[in-house]
Symmetry: C3
Subunit: 352 residues, 3 copies
C-alpha cells in the first residue's frame, strides 16, 4: 500500500471539488475504508444520504461525497465528485496499484516453438502454450495456465492460475480471468440414433472481445459450426456457463452461477443476476435486466426487468405475485368457500 | 480442414441417395455450414421443413436433406439421408478429423514407476500419475492432468487439460472430458455430534462406464461406502455435479449446471435439462425427462416429462400452471370478490 | 484396508457396550459395509428401527446399533453406541486410515525463496508457492496446487490437486479441500460510468477459520475493502460459491451448487441445502435452515426452516403450498365459477 497525499488526489480527480481541505496538505493518507472502520489517516466515502449520520461520526479526515450529500457535511473536509463509487475505485487503485508485467518468464514451461509471445509479457511456472498460438504484449500468464493450439490472446491480458484455453480460442485486449476457468471446450451437441447419443463435432470457436473480465471456474464453450461470441466490455462473475453458439453483446453483466443454454442471443448492456438459467435459443434485447434466481423460458418482448421462476413476469407483476404467495397456501380453503357459495345459491358444483 | 469430394461422401454415407449430383463430381468441398452462410464449395443441410425456402436460396451446391424435404428440393443437388443431424455429424468429422494419439510423451511429467501406460498413448506436459494407476492404449492425456493412485482409465480416452482424478477412480473406454473437471473427491458426509460436524470417511469409488463424455468443470464424487456409478454412453454438459452414491444408468443426458444430490438413482435414457436440482435419494425410471430449471423433490412414479420448481408437474399440468400465473398475481382481488359474495348471500365469512 | 479385531474396536469406542461378542474374539474384521452387502467378516450398522429386519437377515457378524434398536437385536453380537453414525465413521477410519504426510517434497516445484514451509509437510509435483507465503506443519499440498503471494495455510491442511490460492488468502488449521477450487479471486464489483462497467479494485482478503472442509470446484472471492470471512468448522460441498464480503459463522453447512451473493451474513450452525441462491446483503440468524433448491430474497426474521422459490415460506407454510399446487393449475376455472356466482347473485362483475 502506497501512502498518498492531497495533491496526488487532486491530480487523480481533476473534476472534483476539494472543500475544507487546507489542514490536510501535510497528511499522508494510508488507506480508504468504510466510515465506521476509518482512522484519521484513512479516506472514506459517503455512498448515499443514508450514511450522512455515520459520516458525521466517522474518524476519517477526508470524505468522498456526491453533490447530494455535500451540503449536510459542509463542515467536514470533503471531496465532491460526480460519482462516488467511481472516484473511490480510482483512489483504491492508487493505494493498491495493479501488478505490472515485466517480461519475466519461468523456465519451467512448455511452449511450442511456433507460438509467438509479445514483449514485456510474464509467463508463470508450468504454463503450456501450443502450436501457432499468439500471446500479446504486456500480458501476465499466471502459473499453471494451459493454452492449446492456434489460441490468440490480446495485449494486456491477465490470465489467472490454472485456466484452460482449448484450441482456436480468440481473446481480445485487456482480458482478465481468475482461476480454473475453461474456454473452448466442446459444446454439448449429440444426436440420438441407434440407441445411443452420437457426438456432433463442435468446430466453431470462442471469440471474446476487448475489456472482458471473467471470474473463477467459468466455462465458455466453442460453437458447433459457427462461433460462440462475447462482445466488448462484458463482465462475468464466478461459475458462469456460456453454451455453444451464444452471441453475447457488449457490456453485458452476468452474475455468479448463471448460465446461458445454447444459441442464446443477448443484446448490449443486458444484466443477468446470479443463479439464473436462460433457456436455449432465447433472445434478450438491449438493456434487458433479469433478476437473480430467474429461470427464463421465453424471450421477453421488450426491454424491462424480469424475474421469477419461469414466470416471465415483469417486476411490477412479480411484486403482486409475492403479495399473493400467502393466498396460494390457502387455496384449498377458498375452494371450499366457493363450493359452499355455489350450494347456497343453487349452482351445480363443478369439478376442480 | 481437409477438402473432400463426392465419392468420399458416398463412401461415408452408404445408405444415402445422391440426387442431381452429376455436375459435382469434380468439386472439392471445403466445409459444411448453415444455409445462409454457405458458399458453392460448402455442403449445407436442411434440418426440417421450416428451412426449405432458405435452402432454395442457399448458395450451397450440395444439401443434406431428409425424405420429408427431398421432394420440395427436387431440382437441387441433394443427399437424402434417414437422419440429417447424424449424416451432418459424420460429414463435419470428415472435414475436421479427430486428433489421434501418436504415443508422444512429455518429459516434464511425474509418473510413478508402478503406473502402467498403454501403447500409443500421448502424455502431455506437467501430468502426474500416481501409484498403481493404469492408463489404456490410444489415450490422450492432455497437459496438466493430475491422476492419483490406483486410477484406471480405459482405452481411447481423451482427458482434457487440468482435470483431476483422485485415488481409485475407474473410467471405461473412449471416455472424453474437457477442462478442470474433478473425479473422485470425497462425498459430502458429516455427522453432527459434540457441537460440530464430524467427517464420515468416504471410501467408495467413482466407477464410470464406456463411451461417456463429460464437459468442463464438472464434479463426480466418490461413494461413502459403496461406489458412485455412471453407466455406458452417458453425456454430461459443463458444471454438472454428481454426489456420492448416485447410480446413473446407461445413455443418460444431463445438461449444464444440473446436479444430483446424494444417492439418486437414474434409469437408462433419462434426460435432465440444464440448471436442474434432483434431491437426494430420488429415483427416476427409464426414459424420464426433466425439463430445464426444475427442482425435483419427489420421485415421479411414471416415465413422463416433468417440469417446475418443486411442482412435480407433468408437462400438460405445467402448461396449465403457466396459463394461471396471471391469476396468481390477482388472488388478493379474488379473495375480496369471494368475501363480497359471501356477505351478499349470507354466508359467515371465514378467515383466510 | 487394515484388518481389525474386537479389542481394537473396544479401545476405539470406550463408551460402547459390546454384547454377545465372546465368540468374536478371534475374528479379524476386514471391512464395514451395509447390512445387505455384509459378509461374516464385515462389521455393519443399524441406522434406525426401519432396518431391524434387514439387520436380522444380515450375514454381518457384528452390528453397530443404538439403544433404540439394541433390544430387538438382543440375540445378535452388537455394539451399542450413543450415535451410530459417529461410531461407524470412527470404525471406517480404522479400516481406511488417513494418508499422513511424511515431509516428502517433489523437486518439480517453483517455490519462492521467501516462502516458509513447515516441518513434515508434503509438497506435490508442479506446485507453485509465491512470495512470503507460509505453509504450516504436517500439511499435504497435492500435485498442481498454485499458491500466490502472502498466503497463509495452517497446520495439518490437505490441499487437493490443482486448487488455486490467490494472494493474501488466509486459511486455518486442518483445512481440507478437494480439486480445482479457487480462493481469493477478485469479488465481482463494477461501477457503470461513461457507457461501460469500471472495475472496483478488490483489496480485501479471504480469511478461513480452523477445521473447514471445502469440496471440488468451489470459489471463495476476496472482499472488496474488508475481508470475506469463513468461521471454524464450516463444511462446503462441491461448486459452492461465496461472493465478496460474506461473513460466514462457525459450523455452517452449505451443500452442492449453492451460492451466497455479496455481503451475505450467516450465523453459526446455519445449514443451506443444495442448489440454493442467497441474495446479496441478506442475514440468516444462528441455526437457520434453508432447504435445497431455495432462492432466498429476503432475510428471514427468525431461526426456522425456510424453503421455496422466493417464497420466504416456513416449512409448514411450504407444505400447504405444495398441497395447493394442483389448485393453481385450475385457477382459470375457478375464476369462471366466481363470475357465474356473481352473475347469479347480482354482483357487478369486476375485472380480474
Amino acid at each position: 500500500m502506497n501512502p498518498i497525499n492531497l495533491s496526488t488526489l487532486q491530480s487523480l480527480l481533476p473534476d472534483a471539488k476539494f472543500q475544507n481541505c487546507d489542514s490536510l496538505s501535510n497528511v499522508n493518507f494510508t488507506g480508504l475504508t468504510s466510515l465506521s472502520l476509518a482512522n484519521p489517516s484513512d479516506i472514506s466515502f459517503v455512498a448515499s444520504k443514508n450514511f450522512v449520520n455515520e459520516a458525521k461520526a466517522s474518524k476519517s479526515s477526508l470524505l468522498v461525497v456526491s453533490s447530494e450529500t455535500s451540503e449536510s457535511l459542509g463542515d467536514k473536509a470533503i471531496v465532491v465528485v460526480p460519482k462516488v463509487e467511481l472516484a473511490t475505485a480510482k483512489i483504491i487503485r492508487l493505494f493498491f496499484p495493479e501488478t505490472k508485467p515485466s517480461g519475466k518468464r519461468s523456465a519451467n514451461v512448455a511452449i511450442d516453438p511456433s507460438a509467438k509471445i509479445g514483449s514485456n509479457t510474464d509467463i508463470g511456472h508450468f504454463v503450456t502454450i501450443g502450436k501457432d498460438s499468439v500471446i500479446g504484449n504486456d500480458c501476465i500468464i499466471e502459473d499453471g495456465v494451459k493454452i492449446g493450439d492456434r489460441v490468440h490472446i490480446g495485449d494486456g491480458a491477465r490470465i489467472g492460475k490454472n485456466c484452460v484455453f482449448f484450441d482456436d480460442t480468440i481473446v481480445g485486449k485487456r482480458f482478465i480471468v481468475f482461476g480454473n476457468s475453461t474456454f473452448g471446450g466442446d459444446g454439448f451437441g449429440f444426436v440420438f440414433a441407434d440407441g445411443k447419443h452420437n457426438k456432433i463435432p463442435q468446430v466453431g470457436r470462442v471469440v471474446i472481445g476487448d475489456d472482458v473480465e471473467v471470474g473463477s471456474n467459468c466455462t465458455i464453450d466453442r460453437g458447433a459450426l459457427s462461433d460462440t461470441t462475447i462482445g466488448n466490455g462484458c463482465k462475468f462473475d464466478n461459475m458462469v456457463h456460456i453454451a455453444h453458439n451464444c452471441k453475447v453483446g457488449d457490456h453485458v453483466i452476468i452474475a455468479g452461477q448463471s448460465g446461458l443454454a445454447g444459441s442464446v442471443t443477448l443484446g448490449n448492456h443486458v444484466i443477468i443476476g446470479g443463479a439464473c438459467a436462460i433457456s436455449d435459443h432465447l433472445t434478450l434485447v438491449d438493456g434487458t435486466i433479469i433478476a437473480g434466481g430467474t429461470s427464463l423460458r421465453t424471450s421477453p418482448k421488450t426491454k424491462d426487468v424480469y424475474v421469477g421462476w419461469d414466470l416471465g413476469l415483469t417486476f411490477p407483476e412479480f411484486q403482486k405475485y409475492r403479495v399473493n404467495i400467502k393466498n396460494i397456501v390457502n387455496l384449498n380453503k377458498w375452494l371450499k368457500r366457493i363450493e359452499i357459495i355455489e350450494k347456497k345459491v343453487g349452482i351445480e358444483p363443478k369439478e376442480s
